[in-house]
Symmetry: C2
Subunit: 361 residues, 2 copies
DNA sequence: CTGAAAGCGCTTACAG
DNA sequence: CTGAAAGCGCTTACAG
């Protein structure tokens, strides 16, 4: 039983005995209207159940009041996230008893959405969440351009050149990856996080060489994390080697198995949780006790890492914060198109769990 | 370095040497335009980087192409979800080894959002996700009305009368709760799910009375679940009693403690996971072995229930499906304002875990 | 198949 | 403080 024709400013104006300009003013700059007039208009609005038409408002006002967020669709597994260097104070959180409650757990994109959502609505903007399958994503990006006042894109969900093109037309920020000067970006301190956890490992590892399970060479995240690792391992005096995984659990297990064929590591530092989880399994099967004989760490802070045997020490990415900061950065860009480019890098946490031995620095 | 004035239909028309009507047609009903003309227009669009303005399109076309989803904000804990009766075939899934992967785990609203998102984009609509703090939520609902072609609201996030009022003006479906004839609704089969799990419990419980841990009296969910319980327990010949909790872990623990003061139950059937988890803790402290001396079940399928000791058998709500169905129901309503009211009730699953003993019916 | 024109419902200078 | 009027960028009958 929905609609009859909804009331417009004209209806309100007629009913309140004013012009439509005044109705508009009551809604947008109430202080410019005499109190008595304002009250009459407000009453009319209420009586008629008037709700402003956002399309008309958007057209006339040249702004939609909407922010767009483009996330990977559901046809393919989530794309890994880029990032880079910097050196913040990394907070170590005792999660030995698993009492640390990650705000809303680690659903990478869902946390991001939530962060954006909170921040957007808090700033008076609505959030349009766009996903869509791989292939159509660039179409969706174009579509978004016409719908919103600004766009947040997750790096790599759309080809870089398309992102750059969109950024030229509309305020845009790239999340979880660098934009290489073509747009503002907000990401996580991959190198700093990896460096921190590496230091932690080096300070407490049992005898034996260090095995670094890196990511694919084309992963910006992987590159930055490895950079953080090298920063600490170089000159540490430890023996170490690097293996590359595809960031999957199987990949981690496979490289672990291969390594175990000729060394018995005292530490396995993985560039993401999945591969660390795979390594954990192999170590167990090889009868190597974690953390007594070998410590293991991951990166990301996915939920599964909390429940592995033993629970995995890992570097957690503050995705909700990333969302919040992305929105704030976007709003800044919207306010000043000529402001210098931003490349925000958020600090990460390290969640200490049993895979890296008892507590302490 | 964003904008210069973006190109409009006029620019495209000029460049292609056609009228704006033709440009519009190329975009909206290409088959009405000669191939050669179409190509020229498309080329112009491409060269200019033209993107249609959604506000103008929405205003002229009287549709926005956007669906709105109103979810609880982030200032308060998620509101419990209503629902009601029906009798579907309930699927029992062996999750004894925790190998059952709940699609995207149980973040109640996030799953819902995801379901809506998939379904909306798949149907050619964009999804506007609105939350906002408790108090402002009714304002947000009004705001949504002006922005979208249809609205999905989670029951109880906004006072029922406001939902009803909105439903009179715009296509609207209520999710996770009944709309009492004022709007279409999509929800979960609370009673059927509880009845099923109750049957399961009765068929396998050890000696001892049944304790039902119900929800607050004002929770529609609670009421329906209790109804399902009573349906099975009545005439079962079992001794039983009901206690009411506030759906929290502490509430569950407290009522469990109280009950243990004078009975030693053979089964605890809780109306939600949280309270079941609380009960589990109390039973352990009382030295009662679950499932050997007493079986325990929950409802909802939250993530924590997978990791409790022992893992909790529970009734899982298919929230992604709820989202998908909500969108489909909404689209139907949008297509036909006068269609009879819908009140969809989706079947639930029961996840079998250790708290209810070894497998089998 | 294509164009001229009206109209969608607002906002915002510009006068007064 | 308030009103008349232009204009935002499209879509869609209506003619031809």
């Amino acid at each position: 039983m929905p609609p009859r024709k909804p009331p417009t400013v004209y209806d309100v104006a007629t009913r309140a005995g004013v012009s439509i300009a005044t109705v508009s003013r009551v809604l947008r700059s109430p202080q410019k209207v005499t109190e008595s007039t304002r009250e009459r208009v407000l009453a009319a609005i209420d009586e008629l159940g008037y709700v402003p038409n956002a399309s008309a408002r958007g057209l006339a006002g040249r702004r939609t009041g909407v922010l767009g967020l483009l996330i990977p669709g559901h046809d393919a597994p989530p794309v890994p996230q880029p990032g880079s260097a910097g050196d913040h104070v990394v907070e170590f959180i005792d999660d030995m008893d698993r009492s640390f409650v990650d705000p809303e757990r680690n659903h990478y994109f869902e946390q991001l959405v939530r962060g954006c959502e909170i921040s957007a609505w808090g700033s008076g903007y609505a959030l349009l969440v766009a996903s869509g399958p791989d292939l159509s994503r660039s179409v969706v990006l174009d579509d978004l351009e016409g719908r919103v006042d600004g766009i947040i894109v997750i790096s790599r969900t759309v080809p870089d050149d398309l992102i750059a093109r969109s950024a030229r037309r509309v305020p845009l920020v790239v999340v979880a990856g660098r934009a290489a000067g073509t747009a503002d970006s907000v990401r996580v301190d991959n190198a700093g996080g990896m460096a921190a956890v590496t230091r932690h490992v080096l300070a407490r590892k049992p005898e034996g060489p260090v095995l670094y399970l890196g990511g694919p060479a084309d992963s910006p995240d992987g590159v930055e994390r490895e950079e953080g690792f090298r920063r600490e391992i170089d000159g540490s005096g430890e023996t170490w080697r690097i293996a590359s995984t595809d960031f999957t659990t199987e990949g981690g297990a496979q490289e672990m198995r291969r390594a175990l064929a000729d060394v018995r590591p005292g530490a396995v530092i993985a560039a993401n949780d999945q591969s660390a989880l795979g390594a954990l399994t192999e170590l167990r099967e090889a009868g190597i006790s974690v953390p007594d004989d070998c410590v293991v760490t991951g990166f990301d802070g996915i939920e599964d890492a909390r429940w592995s045997r033993p629970p995995l020490t890992t570097v957690r990415q503050p995705m909700t914060d990333v969302g919040v900061q992305a929105v704030q950065t976007l709003l800044r860009r919207m306010a000043d198109a000529d402001a210098p480019g931003q490349d925000l890098q958020l600090p990460v946490d390290v969640l200490l769990r049993e895979s890296c031995g008892p507590l302490g620095r």
